[in-house]
Amino acid sequence: MSLTPDWAKLRADFPILNQQVHGKSLVYFDNAATSQKPRSVIDALVHYYEHDNANVHRGIHELSNRATNAFEAARTRTAKFLNARSGDEIIWTRGTTEAINLVAATWGSKHLKAGDVILLTEVEHHSNLVPWQLIAQKTGAKIAYIPVTGDEGTLDLSKLDSLLTSQVKLLSLVHISNSMGTVNPVAELCAKARKLGIVTLVDGAQSAGHLPVDVQAIGCDFFAFSGHKICGPTGVGALYGRYEVLETMPPYQGGGEMILSVGYQKTEFKHAPHRFEAGTPDISGPIGLHVAMDYLDAIGRDNIWKHDQELANYAYEKLSALKNIRLFGPKQNRAGLVSFLLKDVHAHDVVEFANTAGVALRGGHHCTQPLMHKLGVESTARASFYFYNTKAEVDVFVEVIKGIQKFFT
């Protein structure tokens, strides 16, 4: 484990956190939606546009070389961040959503047929549901779900063996649930699936920047994440794909960058990853993300995870002491967020009140509508943390919740 970081010093790297909202110090607890960016990432974007901006892979002039080198260095850095074998296993996307859509559209159209089963879980984000529903409609494949136990948000694995039929071609599941804070046993599940020849995808949107991730240790074929949730810019994310699997997949979109040679009738495509990257990509995005990954790993994702869990446990304990509150998510091994509902106060009212007290929460279905439906709720309020958050902020938040309860009784 790396040395214990100076959290207060790190917090000062985030200019946005130092502001008043409605006359109160901002408490930013919506990190599961998007994280804030440190000065170094913002500076990297400015530096790129002030000094190195050019299109990639196209020119031989100096600026194009610089841009291309920085763009590809970010790819290699991402491979290291996930412990992939090489940068060739990293495809740039707009984020987790596009990464999953890419797999569904390309791997899915090639390998799925009528009668096949796509196995998901009941806690998935819409971005790991809808792309599969679309490809299922096209191919005639069916979707099955590993059930969730209830308010704890953990998976009920007692039925797993009966769900892993020979029709299952793909298992796709979330690493950390964005609405419950559950950490799924992805390595265990991927190992089981692999033995049966099932291809696996892990949605790492909530995990990549919060705990050490090793795609080889997890044993997944695909891993998707978003840059903006891990201190990087919006508009960039990545898909890790095991090279052997990527090479079986047809292109995603057609255009420049992804071709070897083009004729009027027939085109030869590049190998992975470039085959999946048509057109001019987001260039500044990967460059900013590179700095973000360096920043996180200098802190140590093991340290970040410890800090996340400490804050979440602290918040959970304090909220548990209140009356008329329903808490979601696991009691053990909780990721850095707490989802809850107050009796007789709608989540949106909670969020509106918190906002006037300077506290940024999220209220809604968190893009997990089927899960909300299953739990018999429309929405929850959620506080989600990152390493720049403090226990003092949790104290402010809990006082606000008490104030809301008082207001509505």
């Binding site: 409605h22 006359g23 709608h346 009212d349 509106e352 429309e378 929405s379 006082e399 606000v400 104030g403």
Partner: protein
């Protein structure tokens, strides 16, 4: 702690969200419509009993945030006894009120929604029941959504 919020959560609104009026199903209604707000998950059903052109009775069921519930509750009180045309006029007035803070003509108790325009994300909550009203009067079958509401 919540200094700025009283213009949105007025006493009348709080009262109606805690104790909604006309909050029940109406099995013998003349028409009804469902309203759905994808943002909050507000989901309500509005029932009307008509006598010719006149709204004789109105009620609603469903769940939602304080603003949407209070709005539905106050709507039912407001439209009972009005003609269909008057109710549609009231919809226009309420829409102006919650999007701009101003309106022409008298809106009675509904004036408590004058602060909503300062909270653009909540306009949909305040207008949902009114869309359901128009849907019911038009006899629309598909649920009404606030998805396309201009805020």
């Amino acid at each position: 702690m919540f200094d700025d919020i009283n213009d949105l959560y007025q006493q009348v609104i709080l009262d109606h969200c805690k104790k909604p009026r006309n909050f029940h199903e109406m099995p013998q209604c003349s028409c009804s419509a469902q309203g759905f707000n994808p943002l909050c998950g507000d989901n309500l059903k509005l029932f009307l009993t008509l006598d010719g052109e006149t709204i004789k009775d109105a009620s609603f069921v469903g769940s939602g945030c304080c603003i949407s519930k209070a709005s539905a509750s106050l709507l039912t009180e407001n439209v009972i006894g009005k003609s269909k045309t008057e109710a549609s006029q009231m919809f226009e007035r309420v829409r102006d009120l919650v999007t701009t803070g101003n309106t022409t003509g008298d809106v009675g108790k509904l004036a408590v929604f004058a602060g909503v325009y300062k909270y653009p994300a909540r306009v949909k909550c305040a207008i949902l029941a009114w869309h359901a009203l128009i849907g019911a009067l038009k006899g629309e079958v598909a649920p009404v959504s606030t998805e396309n509401e201009q805020t």
